[in-house]
C-alpha cells in the first residue's frame, strides 16, 4: 500500500480510537456537553415566552442556534485545545519521529474532533426533542440539511481551530479566544433573533461563522414560516454557503503553513521547557 493511503488509514484509525476514548469517558463528555446543557436548561425556563410577532416558543427557536454554537465550541475550540495540549505532552513529537506521522496525526485529530462534534450534537438534540415542541425532526429533508450544515460548518471552522492551536502556546492563552467567542455568540442571534440588535452589531455578527451556523441549523430544524423573523425574511442559504465557504478557504490557505511551522518547531528544546514527566521508579 502506498504511503499516502497508509497515512489516511492510520489517521482514520487514530481518529476512531480517540473518538471512542472520549465518548466513553463520562467526565470528558460532560466537559463538552455542559455549555449546551446549561443553555438548554435556561431556554426550558423560557419555554412559555414566544418569538416576538409569532406564537412560536422562544426556547424551541433557540435550539438550532445552540447546536450551531456547539460546532464552533466542540469542533474549533476542541481541536485548538487538544493541539496545544498534545504539543506540550510529547504526542506531536512522537508523531514527528515516525514516517508520515504528522499528517497521520492531524488526520486523526480532524476525524476524532468531527466525530465528537456530531456526538455532542446528537446528545443535545435528543433531550431537546422531548423538551420543546415545534422542531421538525421527522422530515428527511431536515436531516439532510442538518448534515450539510454540520459538514460545511466543520470544514469552515476546523482549520481555524488548527490555526489557533498552532499559534497559542498554552490552554490559558485560549481563554482570550473563548472570551471573544462568548461575545460573538452574544451578537450572533443564538438565543434571541439577531434582528433585535442595532444594525451595526447585526453586520458585525454576520461576519463570523457562529451566526451562519445558527441560521443554517434553524433552516433545517424550524418550520419554514419561522424564516420570517430572520434578516430579509429568508433562511439565506446561498449566503450561508458563501460566508462559511470563505472562512473555509481562508482556513485552508493559512492552516497548512502555520501547522508546518508548528511541527518543525516542536523539537526537544521547546518541549524541554515544558518539563517532561520524570518517570517514577519501576
Amino acid at each position: 500500500m502506498s504511503p499516502k493511503l497508509t497515512t489516511v488509514r492510520v489517521g482514520l484509525r487514530r481518529g476512531w480510537i480517540e473518538f471512542r476514548l472520549t465518548v466513553t469517558n463520562v467526565g470528558e463528555m460532560l466537559g463538552w456537553l455542559w455549555p449546551s446543557l446549561l443553555a438548554l436548561l435556561v431556554m426550558y425556563a423560557l419555554r412559555d415566552s414566544t418569538v416576538p410577532g409569532t406564537d412560536f416558543s422562544l426556547g424551541a427557536q433557540s435550539i438550532p442556534g445552540i447546536l450551531g454554537m456547539n460546532i464552533v465550541l466542540t469542533g474549533m475550540m476542541g481541536l485548538a485545545s487538544t493541539l496545544i495540549t498534545e504539543r506540550e505532552d510529547g504526542t506531536l513529537l512522537r508523531a514527528k519521529a515516525i514516517p508520515n506521522g504528522v499528517p497521520g496525526y492531524l488526520t486523526g485529530k480532524v476525524v476524532s474532533q468531527s466525530g465528537m462534534t456530531a456526538a455532542v450534537l446528537l446528545v443535545v438534540l435528543l433531550p431537546a426533542a422531548f423538551l420543546f415542541d415545534g422542531l421538525e425532526l421527522g422530515e428527511v429533508s431536515s436531516w439532510l440539511r442538518l448534515s450539510w450544515v454540520v459538514v460545511l460548518g466543520l470544514v469552515a471552522t476546523l482549520p481555524l481551530g488548527a490555526l489557533l492551536g498552532a499559534v497559542f502556546h498554552s490552554p490559558q492563552g485560549l481563554g482570550v479566544i473563548m472570551l471573544l467567542l462568548t461575545g460573538m455568540v452574544g451578537i450572533s442571534g443564538v438565543f434571541y433573533p439577531i434582528t433585535a440588535l442595532p444594525e451595526w452589531l447585526q453586520l458585525l455578527g454576520q461576519l463570523f461563522p457562529v451566526y451562519w451556523l445558527g441560521i443554517g441549523m434553524r433552516s433545517a430544524l424550524l418550520p419554514e414560516t419561522m424564516s420570517a423573523v430572520e434578516i430579509g425574511d429568508s433562511w439565506r442559504l446561498w449566503e450561508t454557503l458563501g460566508v462559511l465557504g470563505l472562512w473555509a478557504v481562508l482556513g485552508f490557505a493559512l492552516a497548512p503553513r502555520v501547522l508546518g511551522r508548528m511541527a518543525r518547531r516542536a523539537d526537544g528544546a521547546r518541549l524541554a521547557s515544558a518539563s517532561p514527566a520524570q518517570p517514577a521508579s519501576s
Partner: protein
C-alpha cells in the same frame, strides 16, 4: 513502495564532521566528529549541558545544524525524506503522551505507519505481540499507558523506538530518574537488542557506568567538544597517563605519580631494595579520568563566565578523539 538504493555496508551508519551548532550568540557544539559503524553501540557520554541532546536532535533531523557535514544512513538529516525516517528508531525522553491509550493498541497504531517501508530484509513493522514479549510488557498489553510504572513506560518507549525495525536507534538519556533496579532492568533489555538485527545504537548518557555497560565504544562530549573516544579499555589506557605510586621508605610515607609506573618501581626497588615497604601502584579508574575531564572543562567554563580575561588559559584541553 519507494525503494531507495541501500547504502553499502562500508558506509558508516552515522558520520559527522565539523558539526557546529550556535543558538543566538552561544556556541553549543564546536566541530563535533562522530562515526558509528553499522551494528555498533556508541555511547555519547557527557555532563548535562555538554550538547548531547542537541547532537542527537540534529542526527534525528529534528534540528537544523549551523555548520558541518552530517550523514545518517548516508543521508543528510535536513533533507531526509519519509523513507529515510522509516529506517530510524527514536526513543524519546520521558513524556506523558497517549496516556489514555492501551499499550498494545498504541504500539499497533504507531507500527502501521511503517508498513509501506517493509522490505524482505526487514519486515516492517514488528509484530506487536512479539515486540511486547521482547520488552517484557505482555502482561500489560491491555493496560492504559497512564497506569504503567516509570520503568514499564520506558520499556514501552523502547518498543515504540523498535517497532519499525530500525537500522539506527537513538536512545537519548534513557534512564534519567530511574532507581537502580529499574536501571539494571533497562540495561539488560538494551543489551539484548543488538543481537536481534544489525541495529546501530547511539546512546546519550551522563552516566559512565551506563556507557561502559551498554556500548562498544564511548565518545566523551564536554562543553560541545569531543575530548576523548574509544572502547572503555582504550579510554582508560589512553587517558591514564599518570599512575599513582605509594610506598614507605625509612618510616616515611611517599606518594608520587609517574607515566611509566613500571620503570619507576623497578628503579625504586633497585636503589632501595628491601627498605621499600607498603608499595602500592594504582592506575586511575576510567571514572576518575572522566570526572577529571569534566571538572577541567567545567571549571574552564565557570572561569569564562566569571572572568573573561582568564578564560583562555582555563579553556578545556583538547585531546584527540578516536
Amino acid at each position: 513502495m519507494p525503494d531507495r538504493p541501500q547504502p553499502t555496508d562500508a558506509q558508516p551508519a552515522i558520520q559527522t564532521s565539523g558539526l557546529r551548532m550556535r543558538y543566538r550568540s552561544a556556541d553549543v557544539l564546536h566541530g563535533v566528529e562522530l562515526r558509528a559503524e553499522r551494528g555498533e553501540v556508541l555511547a555519547l557520554l557527557g555532563p548535562n549541558g555538554a550538547g548531547k541532546t542537541t547532537t542527537v536532535e540534529i542526527l534525528e533531523g529534528f534540528r537544523k545544524r549551523s555548520a558541518g557535514d552530517v550523514r545518517v544512513l548516508g543521508t543528510d538529516p535536513t533533507h531526509g525524506d519519509q523513507s529515510w525516517r522509516a529506517r530510524l528508531g527514536i526513543v524519546l525522553q520521558a513524556w506523558r503522551d497517549h496516556g489514555r491509550w492501551r499499550v498494545a493498541e498504541l504500539l499497533e497504531q504507531l507500527g502501521r505507519s511503517y508498513e509501506p517501508y517493509s522490505t524482505a530484509d526487514r519486515p516492517r513493522p514488528y509484530d506487536t505481540g512479539e515486540l511486547l514479549r521482547l520488552v517484557g510488557l505482555t502482561e500489560q498489553s491491555d493496560r492504559t499507558v497512564a497506569t504503567l510504572s516509570g520503568g514499564q513506560r520506558r520499556r514501552l518507549d523502547v518498543a515504540i523506538g523498535l517497532v519499525g525495525r530500525p537500522e539506527v536507534l537513538f536512545l537519548d538519556e534513557p534512564t534519567v530518574g530511574f532507581d537502580p533496579q529499574a536501571r539494571r532492568e533497562f540495561h539488560e533489555l538494551v543489551r539484548r537488542l543488538p543481537e536481534l538485527r544489525d541495529t546501530t545504537i547511539l546512546l546519550t548518557t551522563h552516566d559512565l557506568n551506563e556507557a561502559e555497560k551498554l556500548s562498544d565504544r564511548i565518545v566523551i562530549l564536554v562543553g560541545g567538544r569531543i575530548v576523548a573516544g574509544g572502547t572503555p579499555a582504550e579510554l582508560a589506557e589512553r587517558l591514564s597517563r599518570d599512575t599513582e605510586i605509594r610506598y614507605r621508605h625509612g618510616g616515611e610515607a611517599h606518594v608520587t605519580t609517574a607515566g611509566d609506573a613500571t620503570g619507576l618501581v623497578r628503579e625504586l626497588l633497585a636503589r632501595h631494595g628491601e627498605s621499600i615497604e607498603d608499595l602500592e601502584v594504582r592506575r586511575p579508574s576510567l571514572e576518575d579520568v572522566y570526572l577529571e575531564l569534566v571538572h577541567e572543562a567545567e571549571t574552564g567554563r565557570d572561569a569564562a563566565e566569571t572572568d573573561r580575561d582568564t578564560a583562555a588559559s582555563a579553556a578545556p584541553r583538547e585531546v584527540s578523539a578516536a
